[in-house]
């Protein structure tokens, strides 16, 4: 079975290279054909625009009869992606997988997911709630994350910056990632974010 999997990966890899799409990229790892790194660029007119997002792709031995295991290794603020672990909620990576789908289709689908979130089928409930109830704050937060973690261009939100600095003053043991995560989780309410850090200590 692993033979079909490896043969498919080689062909799919070439397909992505040959297609010459600028917005997706696939890299083989030297030591293991069944483990790849994918890259997608954030779609235009979304908070993710201009960012470069990495995904880790693990090919099961039963591929392509079962879907690849894919998760983001770049931190991302999106209702269908865990802001903590990068785990993705996407139907084609679960029960809607079909054996004729390829890694190219997976990467393009992830890009489409960044353009069109499905907050009613969330992976990260906190993000989904913010998306639904404070949409403008959601967009600013997602942009801030894309700039901070995925290299998206543009000046950082100064209000968010100030809150992060203040958070780090009050909780000096926390690092910058934790500060951003905590503040984002609490809709950038610094009192609640700090209170929560001390609660879990």
């Amino acid at each position: 079975m692993a033979n079909i999997a490896m043969q498919r990966i080689r062909r799919e890899f070439k397909e992505v290279v040959r297609s010459d799409e600028q917005s997706i990229k696939l890299e083989l790892q030297e030591d293991n054909v069944l483990s790849l790194t994918g890259y997608i660029t954030g779609p235009e007119k979304t908070p993710y625009e201009g960012g470069r997002f990495h995904v880790q792709i693990t090919i099961p031995e039963t591929y392509p009869f079962n879907p690849p295991i894919v998760k983001f290794t770049t931190k991302l603020w999106h209702p269908n992606i865990s802001s903590q672990t990068g785990v993705i909620c996407l139907d084609i990576l679960k029960d809607q997988w079909a054996a004729a789908m390829t890694l190219r289709i997976v990467l393009l689908s992830l890009q489409a997911l960044l353009s069109a979130a499905e907050p009613d089928d969330p992976q990260d409930a906190v993000v989904a709630n913010q998306y639904k109830t404070k949409h403008s704050l959601f967009q600013q937060t997602a942009r801030f994350w894309a700039q901070t973690f995925a290299g998206a261009p543009g000046p950082l939100n100064p209000d968010f910056q100030k809150k992060i600095d203040k958070f780090l003053e009050v909780a000096p043991r926390a690092d910058r990632h934790t500060a951003i995560q905590q503040l984002s989780n609490f809709d950038w309410n610094i009192d609640k974010a700090i209170e929560d850090v001390y609660k879990s200590d």
Binding site: Q7, R8, E12, K14, A98, A99, A100
Partner: protein
């Protein structure tokens, strides 16, 4: 496996949609998508419930795919290999089969034992099925075909039905002897 990078568009048309290689023991679905039979078989085995075409997600089943026989293809019958490729949808010659039930399996697919109860050589038909000798009564190819087809629960159902009929047949014979 030879590298086949520089394939023209023409040969790509005959690539299996699952392994992406030239289709071997090719079958085609009702929606027109081409696969190797072993590839499609494994896909159907992976998804016993809600079987869909791996390309377009139309409904698909092993009884509704058509084998493609090219000229000068494999000399050996692909159905003798495991898993066997399903047969083409041609009418079986009647003389070969016990009774008019022969053509029915495509209509009623899952329950050949039950059919032979109503139509076939009753009651000995049950005995045959109960001891799993159905192949002797009918077309051996069909028997092999069905065995490979069955998701486990169907086979279990079949076995259950067979056992039930075996008992019924025994009672019937006893009753015949006593009368």
């Amino acid at each position: 496996m030879p590298e086949t990078d520089d394939k023209s568009e023409d040969t790509a048309t005959f690539e299996c949609n699952i392994c992406l290689d030239t289709a071997k023991n090719a079958v085609i679905s009702m929606c027109g998508h081409l696969f190797c039979w072993p590839c499609l078989y494994q896909w159907l085995e992976t998804r016993p419930q809600g079987q869909v075409c791996p390309v377009c997600k139309a409904g698909i089943s092993r009884d509704k795919v058509i084998p493609l026989y090219g000229r000068g293809g494999s000399k050996t019958d692909p159905r003798e290999k495991l898993p066997p490729r399903p047969q083409g949808h041609r009418t079986e010659p009647e003389a070969d089969y016990a009774g008019p039930g022969g053509g029915h399996r495509y209509v009623f697919g899952d329950n050949p034992h039950f059919l032979s109860f109503g139509i076939g050589a009753f009651p000995f038909g049950f005995f045959a099925s109960s001891f799993n000798l159905a192949g002797g009564a009918g077309n051996p190819m069909e028997h092999q075909h069905r065995d490979a087809a069955g998701p486990a629960d169907h086979q279990m159902q079949d076995q259950l039905v067979s056992k039930l009929f075996l008992w019924l047949a025994c009672i019937f014979l006893l009753w015949l002897l006593m009368a």
